[in-house]
């Protein structure tokens, strides 16, 4: 059994949060550069130019890319041959989150649902983090992280269709969600689509789909084709960067599909803004 010190996890999480707050991941930066080249609308082109300039300023001056530094969302794969020495893994991730948001001068956006007040104060205490655990083979811990902003989360939706809805039903639903969202989720967006499983499995899959690097496609050719079809149809909506009208509404569509009940076809659409701040580390 391999042992990992509690503080090692805390430091690793802190560092990844601070890095993601100010440094746009290369895959996202590259996708925005490509989008600027492809975009037909001069207004949207200028918006994307500002986004790239913003990314350069944020990186050079270590300023947060966006004031919405998100809720901290983690997918954690824990090897069955590893244990944390000195505390619980969940506590280490939460402690690292608090340190990262505090030391990085990132906004704590977590609040109580009705009083709307932060659970402690407004600097740093962005807790509790949203953590999804899984147990895997091996003696390592893999931590995937994304900062998830509110504007794009607010337009996300899920629905359980009858099986007869099929691919066309799902494509139309995704289009409807993105069309209704317009400029609100800060396009050009990434669209995570969870298909199948149960209701909550579809939702979690749609979230996890947003953690994939933007240039990747689903390894299943059928799903890759569906991703391409959805991307084309979304870009045909004409929403453009920040809703100003244009040809690049989405940078990527990522599908995660699961087997489901014979009676059901669950679908979830989770949207990430143009500032797709995501990374992962293996300890």
């Amino acid at each position: 059994m391999r042992e990992i010190e509690f503080d090692v996890v805390v430091k690793a999480v802190r560092d990844m949060i601070m890095h993601c707050g100010t440094d746009l991941p290369q895959d996202t930066y590259d996708a925005l550069e490509q989008a600027m080249e492809d975009e037909k609308s001069p207004v949207s082109k200028e918006v994307i130019r500002q986004l790239l300039e913003n990314a350069n300023i944020a990186k050079d001056e270590k300023r947060p890319l966006c004031q919405d530094t998100g809720l901290a969302v983690f997918f954690v794969n824990v090897g069955e041959e590893v244990r944390i020495n000195g505390g619980l893994l969940r506590d280490a991730i939460n402690q690292g989150t608090e340190q990262g948001y505090t030391d990085g001068f990132l906004r704590a956006s977590t609040c109580e649902p009705f009083s709307r007040l932060n659970l402690k104060d407004t600097v740093g205490y962005n807790l509790p983090a949203i953590i999804h655990f899984d147990i895997v083979k091996g003696d390592k811990i893999d931590i995937e992280y994304a900062a998830k902003g509110g504007g794009s989360e607010n337009v996300s939706r899920a629905r359980v269709f009858p099986p007869a809805a099929g691919k066309d039903g799902i494509v139309n639903y995704v289009k409807e969600v993105i069309s209704d969202a317009g400029g609100n989720p800060c396009p050009p967006i990434t669209v995570g689509v969870g298909i199948g499983g149960t209701f909550e499995k579809a939702v979690i899959s749609s979230k996890h789909a947003l953690f994939r690097d933007l240039e990747t496609t689903n390894p299943d050719p059928e799903m890759a084709e569906l991703e391409e079809r959805m991307l084309t149809e979304i870009n045909n909506l004409g929403i453009g960067a920040m809703g100003m009208g244009g040809t690049k509404t989405a940078l990527a569509v990522h599908i995660e599909a699961n087997p489901c009940h014979i009676a059901s076809l669950p679908v979830s659409v989770n949207v990430q803004c143009h500032s797709s701040r995501h990374t992962h580390i293996t300890i």
């Binding site: 300023r63 317009g182 400029g183 453009g240 920040m242 809703g243």
Partner: protein
């Protein structure tokens, strides 16, 4: 599509010349308010009480900035999604405010209020918080400090870049832009 440089407070003369799609570089004092602050401000108006700042000609920025680093007036400060302020904005405009800065579409009631009271809804680039934060030269919390990032701040901006989304004639850049680039199957 023209480019203007305007200094707050804005007058009807300032706002009526602007058309959806125009670029404006804003200068002067603007006030920040988001969901919770709007709820309180509109309650004060309805109760006939004094507001923490003069609404006449004011521009309201929908933003909840990150905490400033030592030596900076403010942290990153891009716009938040505006529709959440839709139920409050007509009251603000009716009582003298002339401009709003945010991102995303507004309700018909807000667009109608822009026409009725010579108001403008400006769009700033969402997610460009580092870039926009640099155009803010000073910041001071003037009300509701307990709301943290949602407190009302008086900020001074220089050449703060915004685009006219809803003008005083009822035009909507989001609708116009989308109609132009939508590919119908």
């Amino acid at each position: 599509m023209a480019t203007y440089s305007l200094t707050t407070p804005l007058t009807s003369e300032d706002t009526k010349q602007l058309k959806a799609g125009d670029t404006v570089l804003l200068n002067g004092t603007i006030f920040t308010a988001r969901d919770a602050a709007h709820s309180r401000l509109v309650a004060l108006i309805e109760e006939g009480k004094e507001l923490p700042f003069d609404l006449e000609g004011s521009v309201i920025y929908f933003v909840g900035p990150t905490p400033p680093k030592p030596g900076d007036p403010i942290g990153s400060a891009g716009p938040t999604t505006s529709y959440r302020m839709d139920s409050f904005s007509p009251t603000m405009l009716k009582n003298g405010s002339k401009g709003m800065i945010g991102k995303g579409g507004r309700s018909q009631e807000v667009k109608d209020a822009c026409v009725a009271y010579d108001g403008i809804y400006f769009g700033a680039t969402g997610g460009a918080g580092a870039l926009l934060g640099k155009q803010i030269k000073s910041a001071e919390v003037i009300a509701y400090p307990e709301l943290g990032p949602e407190a009302v701040r008086k900020i001074t901006v220089e050449d703060f870049p915004v685009t006219v989304v809803n003008d005083t004639e009822g035009n909507d850049l989001y609708q116009m832009g989308r109609e132009q680039y939508e590919v119908k199957n």
